[in-house]
Symmetry: C2
Subunit: 360 residues, 2 copies
C-alpha cells in the first residue's frame, strides 16, 4: 500500500513538472514563458473570518521571461523549482541558508539570503505548499514525547517503526519525523508547551500517561515543522491540541500563531491548527492562582496595543486576556507555579485548565 507521505511526494513532483511543462508549451507556441501566482503584497493579505487566518486575496502577479525586469526572479524561481525537485527526488533536505549557497553551484545569482528566501516563499505561493514539502526545513528543532508509533518513509528507515515514548528527553522533530506515518497511539490529546524545562517536568510527572497525551516542546515560538507536525497529529489522529505558554503577550501570540498562522504565511493553509486551544497561562490565571509576576516593559505594553487591533485577536478569550494583561501591567511564567511546589503545574493547574477548556 502506498503511504500518504509517498503519494504526497509524488503529487509534489507532478506539480513541479506541470510548471516546467508550461514553460515548454509557452515556448512551443512562440510565447515568452510566464508564471502567475497569488500576490503576497500587503494589500492582498486579508483576514478570513471563517478560516480564522490571514489568506491572500484575488490579486495575482505574473512573471514573464519577456519582461527584462522579470528575467532575474523568473530564472531564480525556475532554478529553485529544479532544485526542489532534485532535493525531493534524491531525498535530501536543506535549509534556507543552505539554498542560498547551493544556488552558487549553479551560477544562479542571489545578492543575499533575503533574496533567496523571497524566491522560496514565491515557490510556496506558486504551488500552495509549504517549503517543508520540498525538503527545505528550519534550522531550529523542537521535540516530541508520547505514546505514538510512527513509521518512517525516509531512505534507510522505510518501514521501520518507533514508539515516541522510548526516550524520555524527547525526539527532535526534523525531516524524518515530519514525513513519517502515524501508525498507532493511545493518546487522547496533544499538549504543546513553550519551554524545554517544563517539557521535561511533564515527562517526569507522567503527564503522557496520566492525561493520555502526546507532549510537544515548542521551544518558544514553534518552528514551522513543529506547527506542521501539530496539524498532522490533530488531523490524522483526530486529537485535540492544547497549548500552554508563559503568561504574557508573547506567550499568547505563540498560541495564536499555532492556531491561526502568521501574516507571512498567508499563502499557505497547512501550518495552522484552527481548533487548537490556548489553555494558559492567561492573564486571569495570574490573578486566580496568585502567581508571582514581574512588571511589563514599555515594549510589552506596545505589543499588547498592536495585537488588540489584529483581526486574529477579535473577541473570545484573545481580546479578553489582552485586556487583563493590559490592566495588570505585569506578566508571569510557567515556572512561576513552582512557587507552590514543583508539581503544582501538573497536579493542579493542568487538570483544572483541561477541564475548563471543554467549555472554550
Amino acid at each position: 500500500m502506498k503511504s500518504s507521505q509517498t503519494s504526497k511526494k509524488e503529487e509534489l513532483k507532478a506539480t513541479l513538472k506541470e510548471i516546467g511543462k508550461k514553460v515548454y508549451s509557452d515556448l512551443d507556441q512562440k510565447k515568452f514563458p510566464e508564471v502567475a501566482f497569488p500576490s503576497r503584497s500587503v494589500r492582498n493579505i486579508v483576514y478570513d473570518n471563517k478560516l480564522k487566518q490571514y489568506i491572500l486575496g484575488q490579486n495575482t502577479v505574473t512573471r514573464s521571461a519577456g519582461n527584462i525586469k522579470h528575467i532575474r526572479p523568473f530564472t531564480q524561481l525556475f532554478w529553485l523549482a529544479y532544485f526542489a525537485n532534485k532535493l525531493v527526488s534524491e531525498s535530501k533536505t536543506s535549509t534556507l541558508r543552505d539554498v542560498f549557497y547551493s544556488s552558487q553551484a549553479f551560477d544562479v545569482d542571489f545578492v543575499d539570503q533575503p533574496e533567496s528566501d523571497e524566491i522560496i516563499t514565491d515557490l510556496e505561493a506558486v504551488i500552495s505548499r509549504p517549503r517543508e514539502d520540498f525538503n527545505i526545513y528550519p534550522e531550529e528543532r523542537s521535540a516530541i514525547f508520547g505514546d505514538v508509533t510512527i513509521e518512517y518513509t525516509v531512505p534507510g528507515y522505510e518501514g521501520k517503526t518507533l514508539n515516541l515514548s522510548s526516550h524520555p528527553d524527547g525526539y527532535l522533530i526534523g525531516p524524518s519525523l515530519s514525513t513519517a506515518e502515524f501508525r498507532d497511539t493511545s493518546a487522547e490529546m496533544i499538549i504543546a508547551i513553550e519551554k524545554g524545562g517544563l517539557f521535561t517536568r511533564f515527562v517526569e510527572e507522567k503527564v503522557h500517561s496520566r492525561y493520555k497525551s502526546i507532549i510537544i516542546d515548542t521551544a518558544g515560538q514553534a518552528p514551522r515543522s513543529t506547527r506542521y507536525m501539530l496539524r498532522r497529529l490533530n488531523r490524522e489522529l483526530k486529537l485535540p491540541v492544547y497549548i500552554l505558554t508563559d503568561g504574557d503577550v508573547y506567550g499568547e501570540h505563540i498560541a495564536m500563531v499555532i492556531i491561526s498562522g502568521s501574516v507571512g504565511a498567508a499563502h499557505l493553509r497547512e501550518l495552522t491548527v484552527s481548533d487548537a486551544k490556548w489553555i494558559g497561562v492567561w492573564g486571569s490565571d495570574i490573578i486566580k492562582y496568585k502567581l508571582p509576576t514581574i512588571p511589563m516593559t514599555e515594549i510589552d505594553i506596545k505589543r499588547i496595543y498592536e495585537l488588540k487591533k489584529d483581526p486574529r485577536y477579535k473577541g473570545g478569550i484573545w481580546q479578553k486576556e489582552l485586556d487583563v494583561f493590559l490592566k495588570l501591567k505585569r506578566k508571569s511564567e510557567l515556572e512561576a507555579f513552582s512557587k507552590f511546589g514543583l508539581t503544582t503545574i501538573t497536579d493542579k493547574y493542568l487538570p483544572e485548565k483541561l477541564q475548563e477548556a471543554k467549555s472554550l
Copy 2:
C-alpha cells in the same frame, strides 16, 4: 551491579549530607556555623597551562552565620543544598529559572534570578560538581545521533536500553540521556557540529556509518549538558572528539569552550574535553577551499583582538587562525560548501580534515 551513575548520585548525596553535618557540629560546639569554598572573584581565576583551562586559585571565601552580612547568602546556600538533595532523592529535574521560583515555596528570598543563579554557582564551587549533578539542567537542548546503546537510570526507564541510531532526526540530550550508562558502540569518533541543518545532512549522508562516528548537534554554543555528554563519551568510550563550526571567530570560540571551558566555570573540571580537536572551518580553509564569504563586522574584529590576548588561545592553530581571520576580515559558514554541491562537506571536506587532524 551498581551503575557508575547510581554511585555518582549516592556520592553527591553523601557530599551534601557532609555539608549539613558540618553545620550541626559547629552548633554542637557552640560555634556559628560556617562554610568555606574557593573564591570565584576575577582575581582568583587563573589559567592553568597544564590543564589548559581556567581554574580557581588558592583564595577561599568563608560564609558565617555569625556575620550579619553573610546570613542571607548563607541561608540561601543551605536552602539550595536542601533543595538539591530533594531533587536528586526524588529524581526530579529543574532549571535555573525554576529554582528561582521554587525558593518562594520555602519563603527563601531571592531578589531576582541572577541572585539565585549566583547561589547555584556557589554550591557548584562548594561541592566541585556541576549543577547538572544535582539535577539543575539548562533550558536549551541539543541532539545526538549514532550507533551507541545506552541504558537509562531514570525512574520508570531503569535498565531499558535504546540505540541512538533509531531516530534519524536525533535524540535530545536531556536529563535522561545525561545520566544513562553507555553500554555498547561501534563508533570510533565523535563529530560535534554547530548547526541543526548540517547535523541532518550528516545523518542523511551516513557520516555515522561511513566514518564510524557519533554525531552531535551543538546548536550553536554547546549547552552545558552537551559539553558534559561530550566529555563522558570521550572518557568513558575513549573516543576522540572532532568539532566543526562556522568559519568565524564565534565558531572558533564554540570549539574552544568545548575543549577548555569558560571563565565562568573555572570552579569546575567536568565540562571540558581537553583533547578534543577543532577541525574547521578554519580561516585558512576559507582560502584553501575558496569558500564564499561575507565581510566581518567591527564587532567581529574587536572579538578577535580580545581572544588574541586570551591565554586559552596562546599558540597552535588557535592563534594562527585568529590571525588568518584578522587578515581576511571576512568570514564563512559551514553551509558555504554547498556552493560546490550539497555533499561536498561530507564527501571531500570532512575526510580531508579528519586526515589532517591526525597531525594536530
